[in-house]
Amino acid sequence: MSATSAPEAMQWDSRARRVVVLWVPLGCFLFILLFPFYWMTVTAFKPDAELYDFAQHNPFWITSPTLAHIRKLLFETSYPSWLWTTMMVAVGSTFLSLLASTLAAYAIQRLRFRGSQYVGLAIYLAYLVPPSILFIPLATMVVQLGLFDSPFALILVYPTFLVPFCTWLLIGYFKSIPYELEECALIDGASRIQILTQITLPLAVPGLISAGIFSFTLSWNEFIYALAFIQSSENKTVPVAILTELVTGDVYQWGALMAGSLLGSLPVAIFYSFFVDYYVSSLTGAVKE
C-alpha cells in the first residue's frame, strides 16, 4: 500500500508544481498580453452612458451593446477611404518588394557571382537603418519628386524596410531547395529564366507567402513615413488617420477611437489567423537564417 502511495503522492506533487510553475505564469502572460484587445473591443461596443460611468455599470462587461461608434466611424468620417488607401499602399509595396527581393535573393543565392556575399551583407545592413533617421531627408526628397501627399510616395518608400527583410527570408528559403534540381534542368537544356520560373519559384511558394504576408503586415502597420508624407485627410492611412483625425479637441471620443483601432486591427488579425504558421516560421526563419 505504501509502495503505491508514494509515487502517487509524487505525481500529485508534480501536478501541483506544474500548475504553479507553468499554468499560473502562462495565464498571467496571456491575460496581460490580451487584455488591451479585450478592452478595445468592449469599449468599441459600449454606449457612452456606460463608458463613463463605472459606478452604475460593471466596466468589464457591456449591458446594452451598441453599434453607434462603428456607424459614426463608417458614415461620418472618411474611414472607408482610409482603409482603401491603406490596403492599396500595402498591396502595392508588398508586390514591389516581393518582385525586387525574389530576384535579388535568387541572384545572391543561386547565381553565385563574385562578391555575392557582400551584396547579401549590404542588404542585411540596410535592414538595420531605422526609418526614424531617414524620414526627414526622405520628406525633402518626396517634396522634390512632387510626390508629397500622394500614396505613391509610400509605395516607393516602404520597400526600403521590406526588401532587406524579404531578401533575407528568401535567401534562406532558396538555400533549402536542392541545387541538384536546377542542375538537372540545366542538363535538360532549360535556360536560367525557365529554371527560375518553372523550377525554383514553384518550390519557393511557401517562402514567397511568408515574405508576402510579412510585407503586407509591416506596411499596414507603418506609421512614421505615412505621418510625415501625407497631409490631406482622404489620403491618410488608418493608423495615422485615427491618431490625427479622430483625436479632436480635449474631449476624446474613446468609443469611436477604440472602434477605429479595432477595425484597423481586424484586417491584419484576420489575415494573421489564416497564415499563422507562415508568420511563425518566417519570424523564426529570419532569425535563424
Binding site: S132, G189, V268, L283
Partner: protein, 318 residues
C-alpha cells in the same frame, strides 16, 4: 509506342534565339536580378542617409533651401536641456525596456517550450500584440492610462481598494516614463518569446538527458545548456530589439507626444517635432544624426555576434 519515342529523340533541339541567349548570360542576369532591389535601396535608403547627414550641417527649413552652417545645429543642441533630456530618456527607455522584454520574453519562451494542450493556439494568440498596428494598440494603452476612466485605476481603487485616488499615469514625468516603458515591453515580449522559442527548439533533448543523469539541478541545466545554446539567437534578437527600441517613435508619439513638459521625448519624436511640424529640417536632421553612432555600435555588435556563427552565405567561408 516505341516508334513515337524514337522520333522525338531524333529531333533536333530548338536553337535558342539571340534574345534568349542574351538573357541566359550570367552577368546580364545578375545585373537584371539585382537592379530592382539595389536600385530601390540606393535611391530611397543610401542617398537619404547621406542627405540626412548633409542636412544636419545646414539650416534648411521647409520651403527654403539651406546653406552650410557647419556645426551650428549641434552646438545649439548641446546647450539645449530638452535635447539632453531626450538623450537620457532614449537610453533609459532602451535599457529598461530591453531588460524587461528579454527577461519576460525568455521566461515566456521557456513556458511555451513545455508540452501542453492547445500549444499552437496559445503560440498563435501570443503573437497578437506584435501583429496589430503599434499605433492602434498604443491608443488602447492611452485609453487604459486615462486619468479619469482608467481601467487600471478602477481595479486598484474600486476593486482591490489599495489606493484611494486614481493613478495619474501620464500627468507627471516619472509615471509617464514608466507607463511608456510598460507599453513597449508589452509590445516586445511576443517577438522575443517566439524568436527565442525557435532557438530553444533546436536544442537536442539528449543534452538534457545527459545532464539529468549527471544529477544537474534545473538551474544548472539552464545555466550550462539552455543559455549558452540560445546565446547566438539571443544576440541577434537583442541587437534588433535595441536598435528599434532606441529609435522608437510610434508608441511615444501616440500616447504622450513627448509630454508632459517634454519629459518623455525620445530622439526620434524630438527630431520629428522640430523637423516636420516645426519646419526646422536642419535641426531635426541633426537630432536624427546623433542616433547614428549608437546604431553603428549596435550594428558592429550584431556583426561580430553573427560572424562567429556561419551566417547566411557563410557556408564555405567564415
Amino acid at each position: 509506342m516505341d516508334a513515337t519515342v524514337s522520333t522525338h529523340w531524333s529531333r533536333n533541339r530548338p536553337q535558342p534565339t539571340a534574345l534568349a541567349r542574351f538573357f541566359d548570360n550570367k552577368a546580364v542576369l545578375v545585373i537584371i536580378c539585382l537592379l530592382p532591389a539595389v536600385g530601390l535601396l540606393t535611391v530611397f535608403l543610401t542617398y537619404p542617409l547621406g542627405l540626412g547627414i548633409w542636412l544636419a550641417f545646414t539650416d534648411q527649413t521647409i520651403g527654403r533651401r539651406g546653406v552650410y552652417v557647419g556645426l551650428e545645429n549641434f552646438e545649439f543642441l548641446f546647450t539645449d536641456p530638452i535635447f539632453w533630456n531626450a538623450v537620457f530618456y532614449s537610453v533609459f527607455y532602451t535599457g529598461v525596456a530591453t531588460i524587461g522584454k528579454f527577461a519576460l520574453g525568455l521566461w515566456l519562451a521557456l513556458l511555451l517550450n513545455e508540452h501542453m494542450p492547445f500549444k499552437s493556439f496559445i503560440r498563435a494568440i501570443i503573437l497578437l500584440p506584435w501583429i496589430v498596428p503599434t499605433v492602434l494598440s498604443a491608443i488602447a494603452f492611452w485609453w487604459m492610462y486615462d486619468p479619469q476612466f482608467s481601467i487600471i485605476s478602477y481595479i486598484f481603487v474600486d476593486v482591490l481598494g489599495w489606493r484611494s485616488e486614481n493613478i495619474n499615469f501620464l500627468g507627471s514625468e516619472w509615471p509617464a516614463r514608466w507607463s511608456l516603458i510598460f507599453a513597449n515591453i508589452w509590445r516586445g515580449i511576443p517577438f522575443v518569446a517566439i524568436s527565442l522559442l525557435a532557438g530553444l527548439q533546436t536544442i537536442s533533448p539528449s543534452l538534457y538527458e545527459a545532464a539529468l543523469l549527471d544529477g544537474a539541478t534545473p538551474w544548472q541545466r539552464f545555466r550550462h545548456i539552455t543559455f549558452p545554446l540560445i546565446l547566438p539567437i539571443l544576440a541577434i534578437v537583442m541587437t534588433f530589439s535595441i536598435i528599434f527600441t532606441f529609435t522608437d517613435f510610434q508608441l511615444v508619439y501616440a500616447i504622450t507626444r513627448g509630454g508632459p513638459v517634454n519629459s518623455t521625448h525620445l530622439l526620434a519624436t524630438l527630431a520629428f517635432q522640430r523637423g516636420i511640424p516645426g519646419g526646422q529640417l536642419g535641426e531635426g536632421a541633426a537630432i536624427a544624426v546623433t542616433m547614428v553612432p549608437f546604431l553603428v555600435f549596435a550594428t558592429l555588435f550584431s556583426y561580430f555576434a553573427l560572424a562567429r556563427r556561419k551566417w547566411q552565405q557563410g557556408e564555405g567561408n567564415d
